[in-house]
Structures are given as structure tokens and as C-alpha cells.
């Protein structure tokens, strides 16, 4: 018999497939989603004690369908016809994979705001409970429940159907799905202790890669996540403080994750159009493959940033490129590139520009100016670990200055 953890994993794996099947049959995404949640809760209560049924997917589908019918019966306006369709036991196993994909597209519907897309994807595709999602995003459960309900209503109001997006829209819609998974990952990675979200993002990216093995950017995103997450344990010291990349103990990096990421990337690069996820993964791979920080192949990283700046230009790419320029051509050259962002409105509310400037000024031998930049960055960041790191960096310079 399976234990509690095994049951939860099984349920999370089955959740999108059951919901996909149900929504394809009945089309009412929001009602189906509620029904599946009920079935999942029932299973989570009963399976650990009674054992997993022989056909767990069929069990969930039956319970969810019954719950759906109960909802309809309670609603006097519902027609007999729907009940008849709902009780039809025929189902198409081969359509399951497509259902999950359609489900992802639906949760990442452009009518929704990114926070709603994230929440709905985690619940409907990830199979997380509202309480788990609320905890991951540090908001009260009632707030998250409202956000999910509103998201489902918005999908209905947008007239979205449970079908794959038409071919001309597919590329753009897939880009939104990838972006949502990327945001889930970042949300978990930026807050050092929310590893549950990074794990969930990787799980969903794996699922998407399995559904769309030929999509290079899907493989690229999965590789990027693996190659970044590989450094997770080395990224914090014993006291929970941030450890920058060049000071990390590389023996603590996850070699298996790096191997998988690099393997995925080399099997993908050159088989289709190169997009930003593949390029960022390639940059992460160069870092991960250097035995020491001093061995880092910065000219190659700079070359990759040059391509990234063409494919997906943006202030954060420029800023990362400034660091690579500094490593290849010296801190003054890097500072000049970073300086081009001074007038960029998009950088006004992030601490990143001043943090990078602090590092480059420190390398250039200007401790006083570096200290000012670090303190300015510390005042702008909303991340506690980063605040601590930047303040420490500044106080160290003051101590060295005296």
C-alpha cells in the first residue's frame, strides 16, 4: 500500500488528466475544476487509510463526475441531457495528453493577469490545494480562493472553450505558458526558502516537455530551470545569507541536475529556432561547467549575451551583459554598459542596477562609490536576503575604508 507522500504525488499527477477529460466532455471549466478538487480531497482523505483503488484515475473521474452532477442537480436550470452525457463511461485514453495541454493553455489564458494565471495553473494543472498555493505566495487562503474563483469567471466571460488554441495563435499562447512556468520558478528561486515552487515549476516544465518534445524553447526552459536550481543549496551559507556565484562551494552543486540540463540543451540547440530560454540555459551551463569561478569562460558568456540582446533585448539582459563585459574587458567597460540604463524608467524600481554598479565599482577600486551604490540598492530591494547581503557588502567596505 502506498503511504501518504506517494498518494499526494499520485494525485498531483492525475489531477490535470482527470480535469482535462472532464472539461473536454462537458466544457464547463470552472464547474469541472471544482468537481475535481472535491474528488482530490476525497481521495486524499480515503486512499491513505483504505488503499489506492486499482484504477485511481477512473475512481477520481467517477467521484468528480458525481460531484459535477450533484452541482447540476442542485441547479434547477440544468437539463437532463447533460446528466446523460456525464454518465457515459466511454473515454479516450489517447486524448489525455492533449487534454492536459489544452488545460495549460486555458489556465494561461491571455484574459487573465499573471498572478491569476500562476494560481490557476498551480491548482488545475499542478493539483495543489488553494491552501498550499496561498502559503507559497504568502497570502491569506481566502485571498487566494477569491483570486482563483475570479480567474475561472474571467475565463468563462472571455468565452474560452476547452479546445486547443487555433494554429495562428498557438505560438504566442505557448509563449505565455512558458512565461507562467518561468514566473513560478522565479517566485520560488528569489525567495530562498520557497523551494516547493521551484520543484513544482520543474515538474510542470517536464510535463510540458513530455507533451511537446519537439518545441526547442520548452526544452530550453526546462534546461534553464535545472541548471539554475542545481546551485540552490550552495547559494545560501550556514546562517542563511546569500552567497554570490563566484564565492559558492561548487562541490555542493547538483551534478545530476547539471548533467541532465546540459544533455537536454545539447540535444536541443540547433534543431530549431534559438530563443531566449535556450540562450539563458546555455549561459547557465557555461557557469555550471566551470570547475572554479576563475575558470569561467567569460568570452563565451559574453558572446551568448550578445545574441540574447538581439533575440530578446531588455534592460535586465543589458545589465547581465554589462557584468560579462566587465569580466572580459574590465570593470570600466562594464560600468559604461551599465550606465546606459541610468535613464531607463524600467530600472527605476529595482535594486539590480545599483547592486551591479556596486560590484563593478568595487572591482574598479572605488570603495566609497561602491558603498553608496550598495546602500542605494539595499534601500530599493524588497527581498530580505538581498537586503542583508547588500548592507553587509556596504558595511564591509566602510570597515576596509577606515
Amino acid at each position: 500500500m502506498t503511504g501518504g507522500v506517494g498518494v499526494e504525488e499520485l494525485l498531483r499527477d492525475l489531477a490535470p488528466r482527470v480535469l482535462g477529460t472532464l472539461a473536454r466532455r462537458h466544457g464547463q471549466f470552472d464547474a469541472c475544476e471544482d468537481a475535481v478538487q472535491e474528488a482530490l480531497l476525497a481521495a486524499a482523505q480515503r486512499w491513505p487509510a483504505e488503499g489506492v483503488p486499482e484504477q485511481p484515475r477512473g475512481w477520481l473521474l467517477t467521484v468528480a463526475t458525481r460531484s459535477l452532477i450533484d452541482q447540476w442537480r442542485a441547479d434547477s436550470a440544468r437539463r437532463e441531457r447533460e446528466v446523460a452525457v456525464a454518465t457515459d463511461p466511454a473515454h479516450h485514453a489517447q486524448a489525455e495528453a492533449d487534454d492536459t495541454l489544452v488545460l495549460l493553455f486555458l489556465c494561461c489564458h491571455p484574459a487573465l493577469s499573471p498572478p491569476s494565471q500562476l494560481a490557476l495553473t498551480l491548482r488545475a494543472v499542478g493539483g495543489l490545494t488553494t491552501a498550499q498555493i496561498a502559503a507559497a505566495f504568502l497570502v491569506p487562503e481566502a485571498t487566494m480562493a477569491k483570486r482563483i474563483t475570479r480567474a475561472k469567471r474571467q475565463i468563462r466571460e472571455a468565452g474560452a472553450r476547452f479546445t486547443a488554441p487555433p494554429t495562428p495563435e498557438r505560438g504566442a499562447r505557448l509563449a505565455v505558458v512558458l512565461h507562467v512556468l518561468y514566473l513560478v520558478f522565479n517566485e520560488g528561486y528569489t525567495a530562498l526558502y520557497r523551494t516547493d515552487l521551484t520543484a513544482e515549476a520543474i515538474r510542470l516544465a517536464r510535463l510540458l516537455h513530455r507533451l511537446l518534445p519537439g518545441e526547442c524553447e520548452v526544452a530550453g526552459l526546462l534546461a534553464l530551470m535545472l541548471l539554475t536550481d542545481a546551485r540552490r543549496t550552495a547559494r545560501t551559507g550556514a546562517d542563511g545569507a546569500l552567497v554570490p556565484l563566484d564565492e559558492q562551494d561548487r562541490s555542493r552543486w547538483d551534478a545530476a541536475a547539471i548533467r541532465e540540463g546540459v544533455g537536454l540543451l545539447s540535444a536541443t540547440l540547433g534543431t530549431g529556432p534559438v530563443g531566449p530560454y535556450q540562450l539563458q540555459a546555455a549561459i547557465a551551463a557555461v557557469h555550471d561547467e566551470a570547475p572554479t569561478a576563475a575558470d569561467t569562460d567569460w568570452p563565451q558568456i559574453l558572446a551568448l549575451y550578445d545574441v540574447l540582446a538581439e533575440v530578446a533585448p531588455g534592460p535586465l539582459v543589458t545589465l547581465s551583459r554589462a557584468v560579462a563585459v566587465a569580466m572580459v574587458h574590465g570593470p570600466r567597460a562594464g560600468l559604461a554598459v551599465a550606465g546606459t540604463l541610468d535613464a531607463d524608467e524600467r530600472m527605476a524600481h529595482t535594486h539590480r542596477l545599483e547592486a551591479v554598479r556596486g560590484h563593478l565599482l568595487e572591482r574598479a577600486g572605488e570603495p566609497a562609490a561602491a558603498r553608496t551604490a550598495y546602500l542605494s540598492a539595499a534601500r530599493t530591494t524588497a527581498s530580505e536576503p538581498e537586503h542583508r547581503y547588500l548592507t553587509l557588502r556596504a558595511t564591509r567596505l566602510r570597515a576596509a575604508d577606515e
Binding site: D239, L375, A378, T380, L392, T395
Partner: protein
């Protein structure tokens, strides 16, 4: 659960029948903005402060006393909305002076003595005042 003993300082609501069964909630407030209070210190001091915070956070969580705990972004990033010329007008900057601005808080469920004890441990290190306030009930 830690029941609030009806000792000196524990304010039993007027007319309440005997000692309360449930603990009271207190907000413990830290001032000065995290940036301003840390900037002039040594790296060792900043590290020590962080260690104290981590230890106390863990202890309060372990004891089941903490209800909420948050640090606020630097007060220089605050927006103050004032009523000017008959309309609300947002302006950049904090309402109070930076050294009097809220930097962070704990909300704990415990006795007033315990809340004061927690604040005292931080003040012993920072030498900067903290405020303990009872939270009203709905």
C-alpha cells in the same frame, strides 16, 4: 497554549468573568527603517543582529507564539497620501521622520510580560526603542 496569567499588567477587560482562557495578541514594533539603523554599523554588528533575528523568529515560531512577522521596505521608498486642497494627494517619502518610521513588526499571541520580554531582548542589542501594543479584538 500559553494562558495569560492575571498578574499585574495583564489587563482583564472590564467586567470579564475571571481570567481569560485565550491569550492576548500584541504587536511589537521596531523603528528607524532597516537601512538607516544598519548603515553605520560594523559588518560584525549587522551579522549579530541578523543572527538574533533568526534565533528569535525560530523561537517564537517553535513556541507557537508568532501570529505574523514582517519587515518593511526602507521608509525612503514610502508614499504618503495627504489631504491637500480638498483632495488626497500622494507624495514620495514617509509620514514620520525616518528614525520614527516603522521598520518591521511581530504580532504575537502571549502575555504582555512575554511581549515586553521579547522586545527587551532586541533592545538590549540594538539600544534603540521598541513599542509593544495590545491588538484590539473584533
Amino acid at each position: 497554549m500559553r494562558a495569560a496569567a492575571p498578574t499585574k499588567g495583564t489587563r482583564v477587560p472590564f467586567g470579564a468573568p475571571g481570567a481569560r482562557e485565550t491569550a492576548l495578541k500584541y504587536m511589537i514594533m521596531m523603528f528607524g527603517g532597516l537601512g538607516a539603523s544598519l548603515e553605520g554599523r560594523s559588518p560584525e554588528w549587522v551579522k549579530g543582529m541578523h543572527e538574533l533575528m533568526v534565533t528569535m523568529d525560530a523561537e517564537l515560531k517553535e513556541a507557537g507564539e508568532v501570529v505574523a512577522s514582517h519587515k518593511l521596505m526602507d521608509p525612503s521608498r514610502a508614499t504618503t497620501v495627504r489631504f491637500e486642497n480638498g483632495a488626497p494627494v500622494p507624495t514620495d517619502g514617509p509620514f514620520a521622520e525616518i528614525k520614527e518610521s516603522l521598520a518591521g513588526y511581530w504580532i504575537i499571541e502571549a502575555s504582555e510580560e512575554r511581549a515586553v520580554e521579547i522586545a527587551s531582548r532586541v533592545v538590549a542589542y540594538t539600544e534603540y526603542p521598541m513599542e509593544v501594543r495590545r491588538i484590539m479584538e473584533g
